[in-house]
Symmetry: C2
Amino acid sequence: MPESIPKDSVGIVKPETVNFEEPITLQSGKVLPHFQLVYETYGTLNSDKSNAVLVCHALSGHHHAAGYHAMGDKKPGWWDTAIGPGKAIDTNRFFVVAVNNLGGCHGSTGPTSINPDTNKKYGPDFPIVTCKDWVNSQVRLSDHLGILQWAAIVGGSLGGMQVMQWSIDYPERIKNAIVIAAAPKLSAQNIAFNEIARKAILSDADFHDGHFYEKGTIPKTGLILARMLGHITYLSDAAMREKFGRELRDGAISFDYDVEFQVESYLNYQGEVFSKNFDANSYLLMTRALDYFDPAQEYDHDLAKAFAQASCNFLIVSFTTDWRFSPARSEEIVEALLEAKRNVSYAEIDCPQGHDSFLLDVPRYTQLFKAYMDAIQLEAAVTTSEESN
Amino acid sequence: MPESIPKDSVGIVKPETVNFEEPITLQSGKVLPHFQLVYETYGTLNSDKSNAVLVCHALSGHHHAAGYHAMGDKKPGWWDTAIGPGKAIDTNRFFVVAVNNLGGCHGSTGPTSINPDTNKKYGPDFPIVTCKDWVNSQVRLSDHLGILQWAAIVGGSLGGMQVMQWSIDYPERIKNAIVIAAAPKLSAQNIAFNEIARKAILSDADFHDGHFYEKGTIPKTGLILARMLGHITYLSDAAMREKFGRELRDGAISFDYDVEFQVESYLNYQGEVFSKNFDANSYLLMTRALDYFDPAQEYDHDLAKAFAQASCNFLIVSFTTDWRFSPARSEEIVEALLEAKRNVSYAEIDCPQGHDSFLLDVPRYTQLFKAYMDAIQLEAAVTTSEESN
């Protein structure tokens, strides 16, 4: 809890909301007649609007990426290690925008919003959205902010997938793509983990086919199981060993099924907290967006052909102990970019923390990320007749 | 389904049951006043009883390890690839005993047995058993069969843990220990997977605190989730990719939460089958036995000191793509055996199938396993006064 705001913080921040009254057609064919996005900004947009950086969030993230909402907040935004004055995404230099994705549960239109057709919460009737839909909605936000071209779009994990989608779908609107701890599509194992998490939620008696709001319940057990399972994949085996080992809460085994090992206790706690803060319908939707992400699909399943659309520079970062999206998965991205003759830098960071590393201040990673960002030259997008065609 | 029994099969087999009327004191301090074990045997015990091989099963295994119970059986026993005439455990040479563990649900005394105190099924009141308890109960079976010393005790995964426990607790009764795809104790990540599986069962509304028999229910969803989760850890990422990739059942995504990907379909099917064949209380108990296994604990947490008790020869086998119990975990066993100056052979088998490899006919593995077994010399245990002290 900051009694005073740290010097390298963006300070007290306030979310903003924008309403888009034009309908948006989703990849599923469904249409949202109107929608809102909640976002935060850090730093100052320069006069030629050439210093804007968009931050895309991962599975359980949101728009509160840096700073504090109030003095006394226990924690800063989820990526405060990376965003702030003098940090990797230096707010002395960049104007940073962090948005809550469509379908989320932190203020942007999603399952907990009112469905204009029924005047009740959408719940399970909220359409499934994809990375392409997110990018399309983020383009609306860019237009609203008057940002023709982002100096960089940055994201880890599912956030990195949105960055790739941007580079392919809107090449003229992104100068640098920073893709951290991501993959070009999910593996069968990744999908399997998502399926079990979904099944835990869908089969929770308190889920009521997604209509739990009206019943005054939440599928707490399902959400807890889903989060516990997620957590296993976020941490490396080594990080878990380092953090918990086989330590027992009470020093001795009790020959029952109570929570005994520290790791059980930790996961249960993480699950409990999550179940209070996250909407089950949003969780289902986010995991399906992960499953469906596969930008190569529209290009004859050829990722290089997909990336041939892109014109930005790429920084791809992976972590040695990430087994959710291992370095090999990042290398698939790098290979495709090289084949497409794109400008790509790649770093595999040697650190023990697993997938979660992208959220942490791992010195080598932070230095490298900062060096890349610092080297970005800020020039307004030149809209020549050639480029605008 | 064999219309005729394959030549290299042990043929039609029949389980046998033995009742032990002497009480057994468990590691927890609880006492079972009497118990029964169900087992199968293959091959013929020789006159000096020097050719007996004990097979210990893993989490969801049982005593039906080889052959068929009847013509028309869809599948042979779970380790039919390894047990039979001319196979790795050659029944032309060895007398093989496979037992269902105490606490199981296939005929040995367990949660579905009648509790003599209440004349109802034990259910959740069946005491938690450990690998040490299993070994102690298997010693009773050895005595019953008149087997003073096993030519070999063999097991994969949790089965391998029982083999290690035998070598430490009853060194004079085992000549060769074959430990396949095991670990000297669970990692925090292993425990975490077990905890989620248990939580899925324990929180299933149909579990009724383990008293579901009386309610006429089974915690089907919990069992399905537990089994699906287990399956992810039994297969390598590569094996899943090879087997399912991102193939869709119906060729196109449907923008909903129905089972769409082949891998989802497979896991759901496996879970469904398992939920019909396995007892939830047994499953809880088996996972706890895994969590608790740690033979070094009694020896100042020094595995070498534990293995210094052993006098048998060891074969340790691991598989390159096994991420449940990786080769590094087998190497911990090998290191401790070397430090204890035991006679140990170690093989890391390069194959893509992951943890499940131990159940499969992987040629290099089968050859090596067979070569080791074939080289075992059959000599009756010599009980000198020195050795019997």
